[in-house]
Symmetry: C2
Subunit: 203 residues, 2 copies
Amino acid sequence: MNIPSKHLENVVEQLASLPGIGKRTALRLALHLFNRSKDEIETFAHAFLEMKEYVKKCSSCGNISDTDICTICSNEKRDHTTICVVEDIRDILAIEATESYKGIYHVLGAIISPMDGIGPNDLNIDSLIKKVETGQVHEIIFALSATMEGDTTNFYLYKKLSPFSAQITSLSRGVSIGSELQYADEITLSRSIINRQPFKVQI
Amino acid sequence: MNIPSKHLENVVEQLASLPGIGKRTALRLALHLFNRSKDEIETFAHAFLEMKEYVKKCSSCGNISDTDICTICSNEKRDHTTICVVEDIRDILAIEATESYKGIYHVLGAIISPMDGIGPNDLNIDSLIKKVETGQVHEIIFALSATMEGDTTNFYLYKKLSPFSAQITSLSRGVSIGSELQYADEITLSRSIINRQPFKVQI
């Protein structure tokens, strides 16, 4: 594809660098954007710059936030003795949408996946252990995807966290095996939060 | 979806405003971008601003260009007596990739589609007629998609252009009926340029 403009080609390359977007789709999107007004393009471009400038990760749980501590961690009405461990920020959004959970979260940022070269050291685990060490956490809920990688991570976390007094639970397996957490429907996800069960090691 | 950051939500809204990108995909892309470095985000955002600043439409044919006259129209080695009429800039890219055509182009910008509220006045036709009126154009090739809308537009253009001396041809129907031009494979497209045929009105 020999695009007759360097600047347009730049945009196509940038869009095609996003996951799941190929060159043809990128060109379609670039031409769509080219036909927008200058104001609209400025709003579009500045949204990305402002995100990078102002959006942080909550220093307590790793959630996305505009402030140093996210709205969930700074909410005193929430139960700070219960921590729900998730892989990704999108999992928080999925669980929050069920309105079934009133505790706080901990975002691992990834799950153990040797195939992708992701080991325990790539996960945000230390700060979780520090929180649990204080003895103020009564329950830790494992809410990872029901996949091989999720189970591996559950097992690793269980080994690390079982010496402490907090009860360890995991989502009830209403979430169908093999599926990604964030794509579960709200009712299934809500049911699995309510029916969460003591974590048992399965070998 | 209750995104815990206004700035992230902005990015999601901007991405979801692109055709074919839903809210979930937009969030996935936004989080992917959030994890990139500041430099990378600046390169990303500035690509769009520079596109809007510097990319123009060729004042002669309507092709995308960094200069007032595009590289095809300003190329003296090309045959300026043959004009290939296309709907979209992407069609030029597809035809150029075949290396079977040495004339110049004319981009309509759209094709007649009453279902979408697009009539003849929404097409870039006047400048094409002006070029043909000079008498220096020997052949006009209709290279629109082999769809109902493409045929309607061919018919309309034929009515407008047949009073002049230029020969009117259309791509040979090697391009399978009902498919969009830009997705044709290069061999089929190349064959249909070589075997182009005199335009006949089909009622």
